[in-house]
Amino acid sequence: MSGRLELWLFVLQRLSAMVLAPLVLIHLVTMIYAVQGGLSAAEILSRTQANAIWPVLYGLFIVAVAIHGAIGLRSILREMTPLRDKGAGAVAVAFCALVLILGYRAVGAIA
């Protein structure tokens, strides 16, 4: 058991959760509010590109999701599958990288 690594992962997961909580709310509320009157993709893009706050918010969102999701996935894999430390860690790192790549492609598209 690597106590310090586990401790850091615990801290990172809690901190990323604190970042995620308000961002998820902002994401949901904004989406529901913005599409009330019916919006086209072009209109959405024109709004996200008009203000730097959206790419910044979603950039932060993706970092928090990648960290939080990967650490949680690692725990689930270790408890529920035959994968142990290294295997679960490798899958978690790959998941984190995938979320970052896909996420930043999406942010690049709306920036």
């Binding site: 058991m1 690597s2 106590g3 310090r4 586990e6 401790l7 850091w8 992962l9 615990f10 801290v11 270790r78 408890e79 529920m80 430390d85």
Partner: protein, 243 residues
Amino acid sequence: MAAAGTEKLLKVDIWRGDDDGYYQSFTVPHETSQTILDVVTYIQRKLDATLSYRFACRVGMCGSCAMTVNGRPRWTCRTHVDSVAEDGYIKIDPLRNFPRVKDLAVDMTVFFDKWRDAKARFVPSEADLDGFAQVDPDSRERKEASAAIECIGCGICYAACDLVSWNPDYLGPAALNRAWTLVNDVRDADPNGHLKAVAGDAGCHACHSQQGCTSHCPKSLSPTASIAGLKRKSFAALLKGAL
């Protein structure tokens, strides 16, 4: 006991053997204020002397008579038949998550080995040699320790914990709860040593806070709260560079 012919009877299924075993059925007269331990003792003394089980004090102090009763871990000496029997039916198994020795007796070695692995023992300091330590009963540390200190080591929390069933290395609620009392003991010379022993994927950070331990603890302790406390304290110690 009720008059002859009208007495109520209990149907009791008891696990016999080790992992490779079977349920044996018994019929036991129902008594007023009868406990599950009374039922097991009746069977062993009157119906089948080969039944193995463990008990000592019979009054909820020693923590040796825990068994699984109708699917839940319980201290059998303080569990009334009337509170758990389902239409006069009782099913008794050995505790979950422990190696089975025979019938209702389990091997508790691994449970207590984990107390050792969690360094859940008091570390005296030189200062103790100079007399009695002064501990303010209203201090936060004393209150935290007091809330967790009445553990009788019955193993019910360990049997109730899903984490233990998923990760056999997990130290378990009782050992972590004990470590928490020591972290809060101002006389203890090595609080960071306790935190170091319990921080990690087999220690307090593995806990999902499902509270199986807390909901089953016969002493109404909350190992979940103790484990959450260990997480907080180890975080603080990490920031201070003490871990």
